[in-house]
């Protein structure tokens, strides 16, 4: 056995009744990515309008009381929340994209493409307009409701989400709700409009510690659902009949693995606005570099999504200083060609 397993690069880990298969290579890459994310995070803390010398990084992170008031503010109230938020939202979107692509067996699927962002934005903008004093913390709830309703609409309209037309119908629905957003954009006060435009383009500068906590609260249960159903989802990839034959409860699985990504995307959008095609790109990148089933894909997409948002946000923040370009725009500029590349690779099959 071990020969077959070893030649496939697998190892077994057994502790009492607990057992699982490990791919050391994939694990290594994963840890490497995590390390990279930490490095980018730390360097991001140091850079910006108030540069902090690298030698002070230890102090900045672990002995904040030794910093000047200004440095403390910049590191702990501005940069750290923002960078951590980037990681968190990137991870959420990466997970969402990976899950949705596997349950719809459609490499072009992404909750962001099917109108979840727009539905979410409409509700959040309405909330802002009608209840401007409501704390930021309630936004994700409102947004998730909006996102779920829109996703439900798209599923009902296209009836079968394993066909490519699911994406197109989703795009149509997203236009409808984009028109709704347009109503806000053209009738509200222009300062609100510019703020809204920036938010909707995916901006992390409003990140605060309470918002981070809220995002985490939305991330954890949804992520758990995805990881627990990961193996079943691997089996489901082999066709409905085979999956049923192996004891997978397909309707339950589909429901869970469709709702969780919508949750994650809507929560992310409610916190920081639209971050473009992260959910689309991260899983493809993960599949390119990492081998393995759904679990490996989920981890990989989460890490790569986090890195993607972190890097683009940092670029947007620093590259054109003092002008700040929202991360969402940078991602769209990168994501567009990426999407086209995906289309190119599937050109014979579409």
């Amino acid at each position: 056995m071990s020969r077959a397993m070893r030649s496939a690069g697998l190892r077994t880990l057994r502790l009492g009744r607990f057992s699982r298969v490990i791919r050391p290579k994939t694990l290594g890459y994963g840890l490497g990515l995590a390390l990279l994310a930490i490095i980018v995070l730390v360097s991001g803390v140091l850079q910006g309008s108030l540069p902090i010398p690298a030698s002070d990084i230890g102090r900045a992170l672990f002995y904040p009381q030794t910093l000047t008031a200004e440095q403390h503010y910049v590191v702990w109230d501005v940069r750290l929340p923002r960078l951590l938020m980037a990681l968190l939202c990137g991870a959420m979107l990466g997970l969402a994209g990976a899950a949705m692509q596997s349950i719809t067996r459609n490499g072009l699927a992404d909750p962001g493409l099917i109108g979840v962002k727009e539905g979410c934005s409409v509700v959040v903008l309405t909330l802002i307009l009608l209840f401007p004093t409501v704390s930021l913390v309630w936004r994700p709830l409102a947004g998730v409701v909006g996102g779920l309703l829109v996703a439900l609409l798209v599923v009902v309209l296209s009836r079968d989400f394993s066909r490519p037309r699911f994406v197109l119908i989703g795009i149509g629905v997203s236009w409808f709700f984009a028109a709704g957003i347009g109503i806000f954009m053209t009738t509200a006060d222009v300062r609100n409009v510019q703020t809204a435009l920036v938010w909707m383009s995916g901006s992390l500068h409003a990140a605060t510690w309470p918002l981070l906590l809220v995002a985490l609260v939305w991330l954890l249960p949804a992520a758990m659902v995805l990881f627990i159903t990961a193996r079943a989802s691997d089996v489901a990839l082999m066709g409905n009949h085979t999956a049923t034959g192996l004891g997978v409860r397909l309707p339950h699985l589909a429901l869970l693995r469709f709702i969780a990504p919508v949750f994650l995307t809507a929560a992310s959008v409610s916190c920081v606005g639209s971050l473009g095609f992260v959910g689309l790109m991260a899983p493809h990148m993960a599949r390119f570099w990492l081998r393995g089933g759904q679990t490996a894909l989920l981890w990989g997409s989460a890490l790569l999504g986090a890195l993607l948002v972190l890097v683009t946000d940092t670029l947007g923040r620093l590259a054109f200083a003092p002008l700040q370009i929202p991360a969402g725009i940078v991602i769209a500029l990168v994501g567009g060609p990426f999407f086209l590349l995906l289309l190119w690779r599937r050109r014979d099959r579409l």
């Binding site: 072009l108 309209l157 296209s158 009836r159 066909r163 490519p164 037309r165 994406v167 197109l168 119908i169 795009i171 149509g172 629905v173 236009w175 409808f176 984009a178 028109a179 709704g180 347009g182 109503i183 954009m185 053209t186 009738t187 222009v190 409009v193 510019q194 435009l197 920036v198 383009s201 473009g276 002008l323 370009i325 929202p326 969402g328 725009i329 769209a332 500029l333 994501g335 567009g336 060609p337 999407f339 086209l340 289309l343 190119w344 599937r346 050109r347 014979d348 579409l350």
Partner: protein
């Protein structure tokens, strides 16, 4: 009589009925359109103003200087988009084709925004917009023609969406960085008919006429193109030439529309589909009808947009999207497997 001949007669009959009907509809909507607004004006006054203009009458002055302008713009833009839609759907053989979706509007908008940000307000804004539209659309067509299936509806749509998204983000980036331009353009960006000037219409007339003439000239050829590439080639149609001319016509018409009213979507989607279902698929007959129907639809959208949330005026482009997007979804779920 063969069934084909019977069908052709039926179409002609329907056309002969539809044409005056649309003209009538257009005129009544036009009168109504002029009457609508922050200061409602009755139809009788409108007709008086048009035929017995009295410079001392305040209402008459509004009509002539503001309302007529808006009406003319709406009619021209609607007609341009209607015709462009017909050509586009015939070109890609796909009932989901639409200037907005396929990146024409995004390209045109980008070109216009760049010029405005750079301070270039020139007479040839239509042409600049048309150039932007043509460039992006050619890119979409180029990319989607790759691969074994050639230009399939799905590929065209997806390429159009991807490229539009990219260019729109660039446009958004410029607007974020330049608040002045944002201020000037935010309503225009969703497609709107307010804040117009006679100059933009004057400058757009020639490209519009050029586009329409080109469209008329290739109409017979487009009919044959619908039979398939091989059939068309066999019947002596120069595929490359007709495609290029069609793209040029579409770009001109879209450029005109965008330069006057901004990127308005979905008129180009609705018009050909309606005509095809109710009247005919013969492009020669579709063209005049599409111009009329496009104008009619846009007038209706504009009227509703101004009346719906009175006294607040809604951008017309939002109206067209609110109606057009569901229609798109409907067609997509029927047409795509």
């Amino acid at each position: 009589m063969s069934s084909l001949a019977k069908r052709s007669v039926r179409h002609h009959r329907r056309f002969v009925l539809a044409l005056p009907l649309s003209l009538l509809l257009l005129f009544s909507l036009a009168v109504f359109h002029i009457g609508v607004g922050a200061r409602p004006i009755g139809p009788y006054t409108v007709i008086q103003a048009l035929f017995h203009f009295d410079a001392k009458n305040f209402d008459h002055r509004i009509i002539v200087s503001l309302r007529l302008l808006r009406l003319t713009a709406a009619v021209l833009v609607g007609a341009a988009l209607g015709v462009a839609g017909v050509l586009l759907q015939a070109l890609i053989r796909n009932p989901l084709g639409e200037p907005h979706i396929l990146g024409l509007n995004a390209g045109a908008a980008f070109a216009v925004v760049v010029c405005t940000a750079l301070g270039i307000t020139s007479a040839s804004q239509s042409l600049i917009a048309a150039a932007g539209a043509a460039a992006l659309f050619s890119l979409v067509m180029l990319l989607s023609s790759a691969g074994r299936g050639g230009v399939t509806p799905l590929k065209v749509m997806l390429c159009g969406v991807a490229l539009s998204a990219m260019i729109s983000s660039l446009t958004a980036a410029i607007l974020i960085l330049d608040e002045q331009t944002l201020l000037a353009m935010r309503t225009w960006l969703v497609g709107d008919l307010s804040g117009l000037r006679w100059e933009s219409i004057h400058h757009a007339i020639y490209p519009l006429l050029a586009g329409l003439l080109l469209a008329i000239s290739i109409a017979p050829g487009m009919n044959i193109l619908a039979l398939g590439d091989n059939m068309a080639r066999g019947l002596g149609v120069n595929l490359l030439r007709i495609r290029l001319v069609a793209m040029l016509a579409i770009a001109l018409l879209c450029g005109v529309a965008v330069s006057i009213a901004g990127p308005l979507g979905f008129i180009g989607l609705l018009v050909p589909n309606i005509i095809r279902r109710l009247v005919t698929e013969d492009i020669r007959l579709m063209l005049p009808l599409s111009a009329l129907l496009g104008a009619v639809l846009l007038l209706m959208a504009d009227i509703i947009a101004r009346v719906l949330l009175a006294p607040q005026e809604l951008a017309t482009g939002i109206m067209t999207a609110l109606v057009g997007a569901p229609v798109f979804v409907f067609i997509a779920s029927r047409f795509l497997k």
